[in-house]
Symmetry: none
Subunit: 174 residues, 4 copies
């Protein structure tokens, strides 16, 4: 039950930070959304900053794990498709997180206040993800408007492009 309160706080914070921005979201508001008293937040997190860091920690672990599972696929012929699907799923499952992530990547000071690992990780994952999803435009587009995104088309096309005999416009800059 201890974990439940903590999780609800993290979930509420992620949602609000993502949609309103970290600085514009008050702790009071976050606690309210999580359905707990505001003081409780400080039983689990040392500060509002620490809560932000915790969100990154959790999502980073989730992403890392998803990729590892996908990459461990033994069958080479299915591997690419699984990776691409995993990438889309990762974006999908953590949509709020990416939204938050995009904001913070634009703010050098805030970014620096998070641990070193976040900075490196954010860059690495973005590269990883985008090399699969073709480009940040796709990812960003998908984050903002998932309904109208042609997931299957994109998926099929990506696979096609990376499969021998496909060729075409290969060496595009990212």
């Amino acid at each position: 039950m201890r974990e439940e309160s903590r999780d609800r706080i993290v979930a509420a914070a992620l949602e609000l930070f993502a949609r309103r921005g970290f600085a514009a979201t008050s702790v009071r508001m976050t606690a309210e959304r999580a359905g707990v008293a505001q003081g409780l937040l400080y039983n689990y997190f040392e500060s509002k900053d620490a809560l932000l860091q915790a969100i990154f920690d959790r999502s980073m672990a989730d992403v890392r794990e998803s990729f590892e599972v996908a990459e461990s696929d033994a069958d080479p012929s299915a591997r690419l498709e699984r990776l691409v699907r995993a990438a889309l799923e990762i974006v999908d499952r953590n949509r709020e997180f990416w939204r938050l992530s995009y904001q913070i990547r634009m703010q050098p000071e805030v970014l620096a206040s998070l641990g070193e690992d976040v900075v490196g990780w954010a860059e690495a994952t973005r590269a990883h993800l985008e090399s699969l999803l073709r480009d940040a435009g796709a990812a960003q587009h998908y984050v903002l408007d998932p309904e109208n995104y042609p997931v299957d088309d994109v998926c099929r096309e990506i696979v096609a492009r990376f499969t021998p005999a496909g060729g075409g416009n290969g060496g595009r800059p990212t």
Copy 2:
């Protein structure tokens, strides 16, 4: 004279809003950076929100104008290249603004508080810009790390792609 103070405030605000986020930037800080008393800000802008709106107005006008000039080129053979170069220049000249713009596009509530026109404009320009620069990945990449961006290569390639006989993968999703 009047305009000089106003401009310095707008410039300071843009820089700070972009690098630290709108909510995390205080009016005091902005006035300090602009080298004026904090009260003066309210001679020119009704509120902090109005200042943000003013930044959008100014940058929107700048972008619009740049495009118009480029598109008015009479010579068809040079037109595409000029447009592409204009797009890169626009991003370059307003780098802080794009940084800010990306943050705010992620925040539905903030976005809505700006005028309707901003919402539509932001979307339209992004599409316009990105259809030229290929994708937001490129634009975003360029915003964050302009030093290492292969401007000329990209430019050449884009022109190539849109020039007859290029063809190929045209209908890519954005």
Copy 3:
């Protein structure tokens, strides 16, 4: 067992209240120092204020008792010396308490919130103690820096002063 927890709480509270002040000491801190959960404190005391009152009760009883023992000495020739030694011992044994007591005597509002008895007692004891220890300066000095206090000299001198044939400056204002 019951008493042990209670005593540890009182001891911890006395130490912290004395060295950091009552208001600046948190219940959490006190419980931590006592090595118990913070909730337990409310099994023994109705409130933080009641804990303060309890400290006074305990120390007041201790002081009272010490004096009674000393004053009950039958042998007139030894009586004075024993009283003086008792006074010094009382100060010594309850050093933290005096420290706390001095602080609170300066704060009319806090003092009033304690029971009526405390106010009267504090004044009476101080007078009693100081008439023996010569003055609050001595007592206060001794509280703050017991190492360098010439206990024996003071003791001897006091006895001398109050012993017939000493006389001299008797009716000094306190």
Copy 4:
């Protein structure tokens, strides 16, 4: 007028800190007593701690100056009396301050948070003052209950004691 607000804040703070204790006095309460908005306090002082330090600075300067004036008296025969009267006046004029000072001297942590100079000064002045006023008991008594303090008797007696031919109980420990 800037100075007036500042002074009113300092005066209100001194009074409240002295009578209720530093930690138990809220900034809101202080501002209210001073008749200003609570935010204004931070135009003049960086923090509540800084305000406490400012109080010490001001009173320390006042005390120092009073002593200097008294000590500069050329006439040797009047000098002692003037010094003693000055000491009493100093205590009188800064009664709230001494009250506060006594409290804080009992709290090692708070004391340490004030500048080094305060620690040394407090000790030196106390010694200085008390060697004149005979002892902290007198001073403390006078602080708490000035109405009933036999100022003139004490003054006369002190002078007598330090004047040649007086002698008597000279080498008392302080």
